[in-house]
């Protein structure tokens, strides 16, 4: 049995590496994105095999699903505007000499080989922090150790991660200000029906994943990504059209998670407790509260990242933002 598993591991690892290379080498940009999505899903599968279901869920939903959607949207944008037959490579500023290309490849290879040799030459498999985590679990307020690390032991990191998302949406709005609306893809009636059928189910799954995160794999980021998928579908079906008047609300929803998280961190301090130190008896309540608000922010922010530009009224723009 273990031999069969080993074979599976080898094949999967080989496929992951081969598809990664293929995604970069394939000529067509659309094929590149498809291969990337396959690569992401296989990586997630490998991570399930390595007993990391939380990470696999996050990689499949955020790292592959949403990233793939963003890439497709961008490709659509590039192809729809100007350069009808746009292919990657068309924007190449200058051709790279063959020697330089080989030099680059050799360099990357040498770096990785060097790292591999250095790592193999040293003792591996030290004990990590699992004992420390296990000892502190009863005080954390949740049962899923990954959630405990994210929302309690390293809550500061997670707050900053939410801030990174907030920064991203601010930067995207800033970059695309004054940009015209993206041409909307027309997806047809079958898609509309599909969306109507699956939207409620997706909402249910998103909330479930958030809730389950306290005990089982899942949590704010995975749940937020599922809810963001609803946002994407609503944007694509035209069920929701961003309107300039919604900007105030959108801004509030973007910052909701950050503010709640940071305010809690400061408010629990005092009386001998440090910032971020939740009293054990309230820890579960606080964590779930923070997670719920952060999930809302993540879902809205991810949807906004997909939509791109800030919905401002531009001259001659009334057709698209009625």
């Amino acid at each position: 049995m273990s031999d069969a598993l080993l074979l599976f591991d080898l094949l999967l690892a080989l496929a992951v590496v081969a598809i990664a290379a293929a995604a970069l080498l394939v000529r067509d940009a659309f094929a590149m994105i498809v291969l990337f999505v396959v690569f992401g899903l296989l990586s997630a599968l490998a991570w399930v095999r390595l007993a990391a279901p939380d990470v696999a869920l996050a990689e499949a939903a955020i790292g592959t699903g949403l990233t793939g959607a963003l890439l497709l949207k961008t490709l659509h944008h590039l192809r729809a505007r100007g350069m009808a037959g746009w292919q990657p490579g068309a924007v190449a500023q200058r051709p790279v000499p063959r020697a330089v290309a080989w030099l680059n490849a050799g360099l990357a290879l040498a770096v990785m080989a060097g790292l591999g040799v250095a790592i193999l030459g040293s003792p591996l498999r030290v004990t990590g922090l699992e004992i420390a985590v296990a000892e502190a679990m009863p005080l954390s307020g949740v049962e899923n150790p990954v959630t405990a690390v994210l929302l309690n032991f390293r809550a500061y990191d997670t707050l900053m991660e939410v801030v990174v998302l907030l920064s991203a949406v601010i930067v995207v709005w800033q970059i695309e200000r004054g940009a015209g609306p993206a041409p909307a893809p027309s997806l047809g009636p079958v898609w509309q029906g599909f969306a109507r059928l699956t939207l409620p189910a997706a909402a249910l799954v998103g909330v479930y994943v958030l809730w389950a995160g306290a005990e089982a794999p899942g949590g704010a980021f995975q749940g937020g990504a599922m809810l963001a998928a609803i946002g994407l579908m609503m944007l694509l079906t035209g069920l929701y059209r961003p309107h300039p008047d919604h900007r105030g609300l959108a801004r509030l929803l973007f910052v909701l998670g950050t503010v709640a998280f940071a305010a809690t961190a400061l408010l629990v301090a005092g009386g001998g407790r440090a910032s971020f130190e939740y009293p054990p008896s309230y820890a579960k309540t606080l964590i779930l509260l923070i997670e719920a608000l952060v999930t809302i922010s993540i879902a809205v922010t991810l949807t906004a990242l997909f939509h791109g530009r800030e919905p401002v009224a531009l001259k001659g723009d009334l057709r698209h933002d009625p």
Binding site: V111, V126, G128, F153, M160, V171, I175
Partner: protein
């Protein structure tokens, strides 16, 4: 820990400010300036604590490292925080003026949230003691800095911004790979654990990967290619922040790690020094060739960063614990002077209408105060006494001479000569009046209240050299203990 938690506050306060400025775009400038001032106040209170206690540690969440994350303030962190606060405050003041008009309304709207996020990230780096946390922080810095780079929205700025994004992400990911490799070795990521690690090939490899990533982020030669365009094409306050503060974030991490790494051998230090020497020479040559003022200033950043790495390497393995002081002084001096210089260059460009170096002396408008500011900043960057830059270079050369490393002394001298040469190109243009066409000089000399903030910064860069003794004593606080 006694008293309020100034460390956490100095990170979270700018965060709240950024949120407020984002939600209330109309009041962004006022909110932003207030927040920066309040954060600087936090840093001053922290400085007071550190002066009294030596070093302050906050175990966030009460867990303590390595399970949780700890914040730690010692002399060096507070010096960097103070640099950020001081430069940030004065750049903020001049940003109010720079983004005043209707034409820049949207730039103003986004400048404040981005700058406050940047401040939060920088403060987080200076107080962080956990490698992964540093990764998250440098990503916040990177995103905010990219937003600031492309604030103007021109094609050149966007192109430079995209190159910057690639360099920045790649640098951060190399750092992350190093973090992963270290976790593989040690099973923990806090500084204390990393410092206590026995030297091994794997540790050296992991640290080397992290160093390459950070070198990419600080634009150390030959990984500097993204910097000149990014810094030269941004709006003036953004350039001042990028060149004065942002590159210091990654530089500080290098400094922190380099000071305590047992894995650093003489060979690696020499290599770092050689890269720095390359930057000094190549940056100098490019600054001599630059046609525009802001590009010249940006290339001089490449050269100065190289000099800071020379300072790190100059004393060799034996003197490493000492050589970071020279590097720290040079970082402080460069941060203040370069911010002043970019603000002055922006003012000159605004008043004259262009920043072509060879036509600087043909303008009938003479923005005198901005020119004086530029000259003062140049004094500190060249390293003339009594400026802070002079003290930094003096420390560097003294250490190198005592160690008998004459080649580093020579590199420093060459860098100084280069900087005299390229700054003279600009200063000569300020002083010549004979090529002005079209009658006498204009009545208005082209200066206003907007020149005050850069002038204060430039004066500080020169005058702080007189207070070098206390500064060196301060950055030494808390450095001698068992912890970093």
């Amino acid at each position: 820990m006694t008293g309020p938690d100034w460390l956490t506050l100095s990170i979270i306060l700018p965060l709240f400010g950024a949120v407020a400025a984002f939600i209330l775009p109309r009041a962004a400038a006022g909110l932003g300036l207030t927040t920066v001032a309040a954060t600087t106040l936090c840093v001053l209170m922290m400085a007071d604590q550190v002066a009294a206690l030596g070093a302050v540690t906050v175990p966030l969440g009460g867990w303590g490292a390595p399970l949780g994350i700890e914040l730690r303030a010692d002399g060096l962190s507070v010096a960097m925080l103070a640099l950020t606060g001081m430069v940030g405050l004065l750049v903020s003041v001049s940003a109010i003026d720079a983004f005043a008009g209707d034409r820049t309304a949207r730039q103003r709207q986004y400048f404040w949230p981005l700058w406050l996020l940047l401040l939060s990230g920088l403060n987080g780096v200076y107080l962080g003691t956990d490698l992964f946390n540093l990764y998250v922080m440098i990503e916040i810095i990177a995103l905010a800095a990219v937003g600031l780079t492309v604030l103007g929205g021109t094609r050149e700025a966007l192109r430079a911004g995209l190159d910057y994004v690639y360099a920045s992400i790649l640098g951060a990911l190399l750092f992350l790979l190093g973090v992963g490799l270290i976790y593989l070795q040690l099973g923990r990521l806090d500084f204390a654990g990393v410092i206590a690690a026995p030297p091994s090939a794997a540790m050296t490899a992991a640290l080397a990967v992290m160093f390459v990533g950070l070198a990419l982020k600080t634009a150390l030669f030959p990984l500097h290619v993204w910097l000149p365009a990014a810094h030269a094409n941004a709006a003036a306050p953004a350039s001042a922040l990028l060149s004065g503060l942002v590159v210091k974030g990654a530089l500080y991490i290098v400094l922190r790690l380099a000071g305590y790494m047992p894995a650093l051998t003489e060979d690696i230090l020499t290599l770092i020094g050689l890269m720095g020497a390359g930057a000094v020479i190549w940056g100098g040559i490019q600054a001599l060739r630059a046609e525009r003022l802001k590009l010249l200033v940006a290339w001089s950043t490449v050269a100065q960063i190289g000099l800071i790495f020379v300072a790190l390497a100059r004393a060799g393995e034996r003197g490493l614990s000492d050589s970071w002081k020279a590097a720290a002084l040079l970082i402080l001096a460069h941060g203040i002077a370069k911010a002043a210089m970019f603000l002055a260059a922006g003012r000159i460009k605004d008043e004259i209408g262009h920043d072509r170096i060879r036509d600087l002396d043909r303008s009938p408008i003479r923005p005198t105060l901005a020119q004086v500011t530029f000259a003062l900043a140049a004094i500190s960057l060249i390293g003339l006494p009594p400026s802070l830059g002079f003290i930094g270079k003096w420390q560097l050369m003294e250490g190198a001479m005592m160690a008998g490393y004459w080649h580093w002394v020579a590199i420093t001298m060459i860098g100084t000569l280069f900087s005299v040469a390229y700054f003279s190109r600009v200063l000569a243009g300020f002083l010549r009046f004979d090529r002005v066409r079209g009658g006498p000089l204009a009545e208005h000399h082209g200066w206003s209240g907007a020149d005050a903030a850069p002038l204060i910064l430039a004066s500080a860069a020169v005058l702080l050299g007189l207070a070098a003794g206390p500064i060196i004593a301060f950055i030494d606080l808390g450095a001698g203990g068992a912890m970093p």
